[in-house]
Assembly symmetry: C2
Homo-oligomer: 146 residues x 2
């Protein structure tokens, strides 16, 4: 970790980013649909230096395949007073051959819900960035009860 140019913010190493991506149970995919951004929660899998997720037909699939997308995970530690986020930007491609999924046996890829999701999408990373933030007092509970 190195200190960022902005106060209270540190840059996470690439190794740290990918460790967090492997551990996170769910992330959020942003795609462009009709010229506007949309966000979808997805269950992802780290596979051979890329990200995999499953999708049904629909706006998520159409907005992703063949386009540059963003995938983000985040979390916070109230005791440590820190929050973090990792964003992967990359090209989304559909995986049609199951033997192209290197870790398919080691890491079964469950969908976010029980609907039929026959498509496998891979995000081939263009950039991976991670930030650790020092929180300003008890902000994460500021809205609680509001």
């Amino acid at each position: 970790m190195v200190t960022d140019t902005e106060p209270g913010r540190e840059i996470l190493s690439a190794t740290d980013c990918w460790d967090r991506l492997r551990e996170a149970p769910v992330g959020r995919l942003a795609v462009i649909v009709h010229s506007h951004p949309e966000i979808f929660p997805v269950n992802h899998l780290v596979d051979d230096g890329s990200l995999l997720f499953r999708s049904a037909e629909g706006t998520k699939l159409a907005g992703a395949v063949g386009h540059v997308v963003a995938f983000e995970i985040d979390g916070y530690d109230l005791e440590a007073g820190t929050a973090w986020s990792v964003m992967v930007k990359g090209q989304a491609v559909e995986v049609t051959r199951m033997d192209d999924i290197k870790d398919i046996l080691g890491y079964p890829l469950f969908p976010w819900h029980i609907g039929h999701k026959p498509h496998f999408i891979r995000i081939e990373p263009i950039s991976t960035t991670g930030r650790l933030y020092q929180l300003a007092r008890n902000e994460l509970t500021a809205n609680a009860g509001g």
Copy 2:
């Protein structure tokens, strides 16, 4: 809640969506930067039927103000076997008069971290959608230890 056209998925009412938006300590903002989507975690506040957040100068501010953006929150309940997400799409405008923020006294708006964030951005909703998903077995822990 009504059953969606997709199995295992239910639509959350607008009231339920806004209750969840009020309770969530943090959400994710998607904006378009150089024709590609990016995602930023932000602390938000529900104010008079819209969302407010703070921003420093930078890509988040430039990508948001004057554009249609997406804002998303999600969560899951392993015991109940459900996950949910709420997405607000709306026009982002900068708030320049502090007395335009109706709930500014009731709900102090803390930034995600301690950096200087002088800009207040309001998302005026165009659409608010929420979904509740029945999870397919223990998928949320599928990556743990992977």
